[in-house]
Structures are given as structure tokens and as C-alpha cells.
């Protein structure tokens, strides 16, 4: 369960405190020009930056490609890349050895494996998503040439929806030693009609699986989503109109007929319509907070837990490139034959 995708398959490896992270991409077509600066720049978007919501930890995250590229072009062979880990300070985490951190995977790892990595999660660490972002950048390279643009943006952080409100809320919450959740909206423009499969391989099912595999994601919806539950069929149905000017190339096989509205979020019956594909992902607040928490240690002794590490206030800004990367992997995988 370290692989994702069928035609374009990513396998990730690496613990957050091991020698290196990385991935192998199989099925990537030959002859694609790769700009390594672009791959690196996508990774940089995930780094703890000057954004107020982020930790001050330093991670350089330089990607090295080991195979699959020759003279700047892909060979059609597996693309392997690694990102060496630096700045390993396991002692930072020593005080957590006897504690299940609330909201983290420690408790379930112990239940499943009989042990867990108190050095910050091993494979469960959000650091694993660096490999996804690198792989997603390869996928984006192809999609961009085909005119597919994927853009994730912040819909809300906590209850705040405008940049000013968000900045203010983050500062206030940081001062309280607390953390925030949020909602990301992702729009795919230029995805051709016909992507997705009718039964188990519905495009929304693939996107939902991809999004819910991102740490801290708690919900997924597309088109009208949960709001559709209170709409009537006559409101929700997208009736068809004649596209008089025929500007919409994607409607070609069915003449100039196209949906007049997009309540369905660009997917009908599991297959893309050629309209914008729109979905949202909800993220819970970050589990590591500096505010004291009343909990018990592994033996049941009451303790007051105060996190000492440097942590983000909200994961949402750093998750944006992860949402885009997973989306790019899904769309490239599912549009493989188009």
C-alpha cells in the first residue's frame, strides 16, 4: 500500500527520520522534456516558508533523479528520485516516548504494529508527501502541455475566508498555542471529456481516495457536494443548451450541445464532462499544539502534555501543492489513453 495509480504508478519510500525519502514512477511516457527546476520549485512550495501559519524548521529538500531521464528527456523507464533527510534531531522527541500524542497516529500504530516511531511518525509523517509533490510535478509537466491546469486554493481557514481575516486568525491562534483547520478548493481546467470509468473507477471515487490519503483530510465533496442533499432534482439537474459559437472544443463529439450549468462539478456518471472539475477537501486542525493538554501516558498516569517542537498552526497552506500533486497523478493516470 505504498503505491498509487494504475497506468502511471507512484511508489513512495522513506521514513521522516531515515536516510532519504523518494519515489519510483512507472509508466511515465518516453520523450517528455523535464525541467528539473520546475520539479524543485514545486517541492519548495511545500517547504515551511515565511507564511505565518508555518513552522520555522529548516528543510532544504533537494531532489536527485537517479534514473529514467537522459539528456533532459524521459526514457520511458522508471523514474526514481530521492530527497535526502537532514537536520535529524531525534532527541527533540525523547520526551514523547511514553505518550500517545492526541490526534496523532501513535495510538493506532501501537495497536497495529505493537510499536510506533516516536521520532515523529515514520511513514505517517506528513513529510512523506514531499515524494508525492515531486511525482506530481512530473505529472503536471505532461498535463500542462495538454492544456490541463490544476489550481488548489484556500477556501477558508477556521471560520476566516479573506486574506486579512485569515492572517489575523492565524496570529491570534498562534498566540493561544492552538491550531486551525480549513477547506481547500481545487479546480481542474481543460480536462477533456471522457476521463473516468463507469463502475468502481468513477473519477470522483479516484479523486476522493487520493484526497483522503492526505494526512489530516476529513472530508471530500465535488460539485454541489453536501449542499446537493437539500436541493431538488429540478434545481440540481444541468440541462443542455446549444453552444452556438462552438467555442467549446470538448463538446465536439456530441455536436455543439453542452450543459448549461455545472452543479455536477464537471463529472457525470463517473466521467468528466469537459467542464471545470471542482472539488473541496476539509482538513482538521493540526494535532500538535503548544497549549497544554490533559491526557494520560501509556500506563494511564494523568499528565499535562505541552508540545515542545516547532509546529505549523495550520497545514492548509502547505497542503495546497499536495492536493494539486495528487490531483495531477489521478488525472494523468485516468486520461492515459486519451
Amino acid at each position: 500500500m505504498n503505491s498509487f495509480g494504475e497506468h502511471i504508478k507512484l511508489t513512495t519510500f522513506g521514513e521522516s527520520h531515515g536516510v532519504a525519502l523518494g519515489g519510483v514512477i512507472e509508466g511515465f511516457p518516453a520523450g517528455v522534456e523535464i525541467d528539473l527546476n520546475f520539479i524543485q520549485s514545486e517541492l519548495d512550495r511545500r517547504k515551511p516558508s515565511h507564511h505565518k501559519a508555518s513552522t520555522t524548521r529548516k528543510e532544504s529538500d533537494r531532489v536527485e533523479v537517479l534514473s529514467g531521464i537522459f539528456e533532459g528527456k524521459t526514457l520511458g523507464t522508471p523514474i526514481a528520485f530521492i530527497i535526502r533527510n537532514e537536520n535529524q534531531q531525534p532527541d527533540d522527541y525523547e520526551y514523547l516516548r511514553e505518550i500517545f500524542r492526541p490526534g496523532h497516529a501513535d495510538f493506532t500504530y501501537e495497536k497495529k504494529y505493537g510499536h510506533y516511531d516516536h521520532r515523529s511518525g515514520g511513514r505517517a509523517s506528513a513529510r512523506e508527501t514531499a515524494s508525492r509533490v515531486a511525482a506530481g510535478a512530473f505529472a503536471k509537466t505532461i498535463l500542462q502541455k495538454k492544456g490541463v491546469e490544476i489550481t488548489a486554493s484556500i477556501k477558508q481557514i477556521g471560520t476566516a475566508k479573506t486574506p486579512e481575516e485569515i492572517e489575523h486568525l492565524i496570529e491570534q491562534t498562534k498566540a493561544e498555542g492552538d491550531s486551525l483547520g480549513g477547506i481547500i478548493e481545487c479546480v481542474i481546467k481543460g480536462c477533456p471529456a471522457g476521463v473516468g470509468e463507469p463502475v468502481f473507477g468513477k473519477l470522483q471515487a479516484q479523486l476522493a481516495e487520493a484526497m483522503m490519503s492526505i494526512p489530516a483530510a476529513k472530508g471530500f465533496e465535488y460539485g454541489e457536494g453536501f449542499a446537493s442533499a437539500t436541493m431538488k432534482g429540478s434545481e440540481h439537474n444541468d440541462v443542455y443548451i446549444l453552444d452556438e459559437y462552438g467555442t467549446d472544443e470538448t463538446s465536439a463529439p456530441a455536436g455543439n450541445v453542452k450543459p448549461a450549468t455545472n452543479h455536477n462539478g464537471g463529472i457525470l456518471g463517473g466521467i468528466s464532462t469537459g467542464q471545470d472539475i471542482i472539488f473541496r477537501v476539509a482538513f482538521k486542525p493540526i494535532a500538535s499544539i503548544s497549549k497544554p493538554q490533559q491526557t494520560v501516558d501509556k500506563k494511564g498516569n494523568p499528565i499535562e502534555l505541552v508540545n515542545q517542537g516547532r509546529h505549523d498552526v495550520c497545514c492548509v497552506p502547505r497542503v495546497l501543492p499536495v492536493v494539486e500533486a495528487m490531483t495531477a497523478l489521478v488525472i494523468l493516470d485516468r486520461s492515459f489513453f486519451l
Copy 2:
């Protein structure tokens, strides 16, 4: 993309207007006693019944098992079953030949395949879910013996939340020739801790994929779901307490320590905690309505579409066993080694 699951794999086949539907279940363990009456009774739950929200079409849906069972017990070999189709009246659908029905898969099928089955959807028809319900009943048989109970219930239909309100709203909407969406909540009781995988195989990702593969599903959330976006870490984190009475068997490997609350919906880091697993699925209103719709035919000529078939007002009541079946398949597949 007609298969679901890894260790316990279901492959479904059959068009809604063909000879038969059915499925093959691979990986099902040997020696399990099967009550065919239970399998049939689960299928019966999906039938258009006297429920006010349902069509008056008659479907007998008798399941026949072809292999994998001998003298009432499973052999460990593939279990194949079929449900023959009856009551095929393709002429009923003749008037739809030149129309993309709003909200249906006709438009995207035409885009993808260059043709579609105007006789009500082929594989896209919700009738395909009958095979899932039959397979889910086999999965439930094992899970029930292990003490795992899966219950899907109606959380709301349209804006109505109580039986009286729901009944009233359905009658009113039926009279209007319109349709309703709704939200289903599913609770899994007795699922042991340790089900699910850390990276791409997170339990919530598998459940989300399963739910979003059900026709008309528009959103998935677990635990606090979308509401978690506006919570703070100090509110959302489930701290740990000592389970003094040690009644909770599932907490054994970690002593008597257990989460005090369940904001996380029974899953942490992709792995079940041993608590109740709780998730919700949003469904859009049924696309087929008798209320006239102003749309265009395939050539772009404006028409007023009035559906002549008998249709459900809301899919939610009939989807309950489908949600339970897909959940059972996920949990059995993912707890295979426990």
C-alpha cells in the same frame, strides 16, 4: 475497473437490460456457513418497496449461486452468483433515443464511447448495485461472526430529519413531480483497532473510494468531517483516559488507555482505533423527474422533456443496503489478516 477489493475481490458484470447481472467473489475464506435466505433478504432491502419514496416497478431479483459453496459452506474457491433480469421493456425508453437526460451519464458516455445505452444506462444504471448488495451480504456473514455490525441510517432527506417530516416532504415532492437528495450516516460497531494502512491505503481513503463509487454520491466525510475545518486543535484532539474497568477488549495491546472522545470518527492516521467508525455520504436528488425540463436534444433543438417512466423520488432509502454492502466489503478486505 469492474473489480473492487484486494484480498477479498468482487468483480461485477451485467447490463441493466441484458440477460443477467452478477458477480464473482475471490479470496473468500473456506468453511464459512452461508445462509442463502440472508443473502436474498439483503437484496430484497434494495428492491422498490412500499416505501413512499420508491418506484412501483416490479423486480424479483432472485440470486442464484453457481460456485464456491458446497453443502452450505464456502469452499475457498470463487463464489459466482447471478441475478437474471426480467421485465425488459426497451420500448419504454424509445422516446429518449435522441436526448441526453439532464443529470444522467448519457452525455459523458457519448463523449467517452461514442454511444450510450438509452435503455437506462447499461452498466451506469443503479441496478448494478444489486451485485454489490449480494456480495456485501457474504462479507457481512463473516463480519457478524466477528462482532462487527454495520448500520446505515437516514440522516436527512432534503431538509427533513424526522420520519414525519420526511414522509410529508416526499409526498409533497412527488406531487410536484420533483425529486430529493439526502445524507446517509453509517456506523461500524465492533471493528477492531488496527484496520487500515498508513500511506495510500488509509481506511478513510478506502471508504471514501467505496462510497463515491455509488451512483449519485456527491460527498464523503468521517468523524467531524467538514465541521472540523472550523474547530481548533484543542477542541478536536481526542485526549486519552484510563479505561478503569478494562471492559474495552480492543484497547488490550495498549493497556487500558483509550481515547476519551471520538472527534476523529474511529480512525487515526488511516488506522481504526477500536472505537465506532462513523461517516456520512451525501446524495444528490434523483435526476429523473416528471416535472417538465427545458433542454435541447442531441442536435440542439429546444425540447421540453417529461419523463414517462416510474421513478423513485429519492434514492436514499434504497441506497442504505448499498452503503452497508460497500462498507462490509472494505472492512472485510482491510481486516483480512486480523
Copy 3:
């Protein structure tokens, strides 16, 4: 492990003494005209016939297609078919209940599963190959249209190589109550160059796996096979010549250059060359013989086993369509993108 193939996937089901055998073919393209008489005729080739090597058991083996075909053409949806079992006389096998039949899977099934099906093997029965022959006939339908012809023929039965020798040897062996093995050679004509993958998906690896999954197969070789072990590089290498007349369409992408000889059996580096693909499969003598065998029962008591059933003297004639079917499934699966 009841499935075979990646792009065109066959899943088989059914016990030799259950209700029915059958299969589901996924990934089969839409719009292919299917001649059900051809499917049936391929199945008939596997039936115990007047061939002197075969049993006198009667098996009608009528195939019924349940899905995936509409008005004589494939829909692109899963093709499910069944073959109902007849003539079930489990009492015929009652005397075998306490015995591991020499050369059969009884012993290993008991070791693996703690039980076995004394009614003639369950899934281990060669009867399972009927589903493969039916599926192979669908695959052949496409391949024939593309000009690919697959022909398996008897290379030798026992030590006999000509029809007269073979007929004589079979009669003699039948009189002795004994059985014979043999070698089948299969030639694929018209397979385009480029089929097969470089590393683990080599065409010879896929063919070897397919052939060694046929009951009683003991060896596989292609091209010069085992004989190549005693050849020198200068003898075995296929040098290249100019194909002056350019009649060989398959050599087009590399101009008119082609291998002068075919020691490599039509495959180089795991990929087809466009020449005839030639391989051979060795089969052991049938395990069920009427000649008395000195063995012990399950408790270790010495017994003289005399098989009472009607059995083939040699499986080779009936295996020919199975070899062709498995070959067709491999070639269609592997040439999917060509």
C-alpha cells in the same frame, strides 16, 4: 489467483462437480462482432471425442453468455459466460475417499487446505480449462481480424512422432491400462513486432507462466530452447539481412532489415521480432491409470489402487485448444496498445 491477464483479464470460477463453470472477461473492447458458434466450436475441440486417446464420458459443455454482448457485438462491458455441469455422479468417486491418488493434487490439497475434493479435484480438475478455452475463443476473434494465427500441434506422444506411430502407441498403452505424455508445439504467425516488455514482463515469461498454469505441463521452451545450451554464439545468433523485396510489413519501422534466421523463436530481449513465435510445452503422462498401483491409503495401510473411472490415455490431443487459448489471451493482453 483465479484471474489471468492485465489489460484483458479473465477470471474463472466453478468446481468440476458444482452447478456451473464460467468466466468473466474484463477489458474486452467494444464493437467486436462475436460468432457464438465459433466460441462453442472451440469448446467442442476440448470435449472427449472419438479420438482414441480420450475418455468415453459425455460432456455437452454448452456455453451461455450473460453479459457484455448486445445484438451480436461486444459492449466493452464485462463478458460473463457460464457452462452448466451435467452428469454429476459423485458416487463414482466414493472409493477414493481414503486415498491420495498418485500424481494428483489430493496430497497437496490436504496439506494446504486440510481437506480435498475427492469428487475429482474441484478447481484442480482439468475441467476448469473449459472456461479458458471459451475466453480464448473471444481473444482469437480479435487476433484473427488482425492477422494473428495461433496453431498448436502434437510434436510427439510418448516416443511416437507420426500419426501412425501415435495411433499404434495409444492403442497399445490403453490395452496395458497405462498412460502417455507428450510435447505440443505452438506457432504464432502474424504477431507484430514490439509485443512484450523489457524487464519482468518479457513475452517469454508471460507465455511460460500461461503454459505452466495448464494442468500436467512440466516444461516450457521457446526458439532453440534447451538445445541452445549446447550451441555457440556464432551458431545461435540471428544475423540481419536486407529484405530486398520489402514484403515483410512488420520490418517497416526498421527499414527492410530483418533477421536471417529464427533461432531466437521470434522473441529478442522479451519483445517479439515480427517473425513466427515458436514454443514447446511438455506434458507428463495422465496420472489416472487403470493398471494397478501399489500405494498406501491415508492411514498408511498398503493397498492396490485400480482406477475405475473412464480416463484419457493422453491429455495432449485435448490440451491443444487450451494451449491455443492461453496463447491467445497472452498475445491479446500484451498487444493491447499496438
Copy 4:
């Protein structure tokens, strides 16, 4: 098609003249002590050594493990390892740019991909098997603890069968500028009964696929193999005897009854019997020879090809660890649940 195995899955990457080769092993159990010296020593067995059949090229082949091991033990997470390439002299191969080397994959790569890597094969190079040997060493580590010993040995090189004959033949052939093929026999001792699956997952099918994926392999047989074709059932059947001394632990579930002989090579009905598993693999002579070959270049001009590189006379000695590694991967994968 760069992955092998189902429960224990190896994915390999790397071109023979790229930055590095390597692999990722998924599904490897946690808590296994790993001796990196043993992993390296297995790799060293594959290196061109003082063996007279081998090239004098220098390859240091140092393995570096990037993930999956912590404090000398496996974590249960993916094990990634790399072997950096050295000694890259692409100019050595410049004279081959316009030639399809006889017996190599150049011709089929050009047919399939429209190009090939004249720098000695890219992924087709036998150098890719270094990753398999490293992964096989991990698999052997577990199998050895379970008492499973896998030993591949030279059965013959050319027509020579004794060390003296072999040495003499190799020297003579080297002097002629020619090359030799051979046969390797592999014996698996201590494999428990019950490994393998009845239908498509037969143990012999998995072994055949694994062996035929090794470059230069031309044939596979197990037990009596091709010789069984000329045996009678009464000769080939392994009757059962009472194992009076009960020394054979593996026969436990069936009491003390065991096969008296092993014509079947340790596999019956696709499942291991608990006896030694014995199979043989035929390899063709190495394609690169220094003896002049009359062939044509890519344009059809007659040329005399004289290989300038340093090449092995026979691959068989260096292939022994590859055969063992692929066998170990199959047996570990297939005995995963035992």
C-alpha cells in the same frame, strides 16, 4: 512491468549507464535482522570475477540502503536501496550506433520504441539483475531462518558437465572468440508443503515466469520435465509410502504418509509437496562475441561486425545468484501466509 511479486513486491529501476540502479521492496515484514554484509556478498557473487568465463570489466557495485531499516532491523516500511553506476564509458559503444547487434534486443527495441540505447541496453542490460540479487538477499534472510535453502548449480556449460571439461571448453571457446550456453539446476530444500495456488497461481507457473524473465533464459522444466513426455503413467506417478520413522515433519497433517519418489519435482497440482523442489533453466550462448559476424547495418549495408568490448564467454556462472534470488522472491512471496 518493472515490478515482481504480490505480497513481497520488488520494483526495480535504473539504466545500465545512468546514475544508479536500485529497487524498492514492499511488504517485507518488520523486525527482521538484516546483515548488510550478506546483502553485499550476494551482489559480489554476480560481479565479473576471476572465473574464466567472465569479463575483466571492473564493477564495484556497492549497495546503499535508503529506507526501511532502523538499528539493523526492518521497519515493515518499503526497503529502498541503490547501487551507483561507475566506469561509464559510452564512447566504447559508439561504433554500434548504426548496427542491430545479433542476438541482442536492439532490433526489437527499435521496433517497439522507435529508438534504443546503443550504450549497452539500458533496462535490457543484464546489469539490471544486480537489483534482483540485492532484493533476493533480503528474501533469503527470512527463508534461511525458516530452514529453506536455495542452491543453484551448473548442470552443464555447452556439452561439458564436469569442472575439468567446463574449464577446458571455456578456454577453447574464448580462444575462438565465441561463446557458450548452459543449463542451471536449482534445488529448494526445506520448503514446506502447501506453497502455491491451484489455478493460475501454480508454483511452477510462478517459477517459470521468474526464470524466463532472466535475460538469455530459453527454457524451464521441473521434476522430470521434458523427459516426462516419454514416460508412462505407471513410471511417472509417485506412489505413497508409510514414513515409518515419522522423521519428515512436513508430512504431519497427513500423518506419516509421503511420496516414495519425486518424479514430480516437489510440486503436485501447483502446490509444494514438502519434498525438494527441483527445476532447470536453459540459457543461450552470450550474444556478444569477438568472432566476426556477417550482418547488415540499419540501412542494409553488409558489414562484418567484430565486438570490441570485454564480454563473458558464458553467462551461466554469473547467473547462479540471479536464479537463486528470483527463486527466493517467488518462494517468500508464495509462502507469505504459512
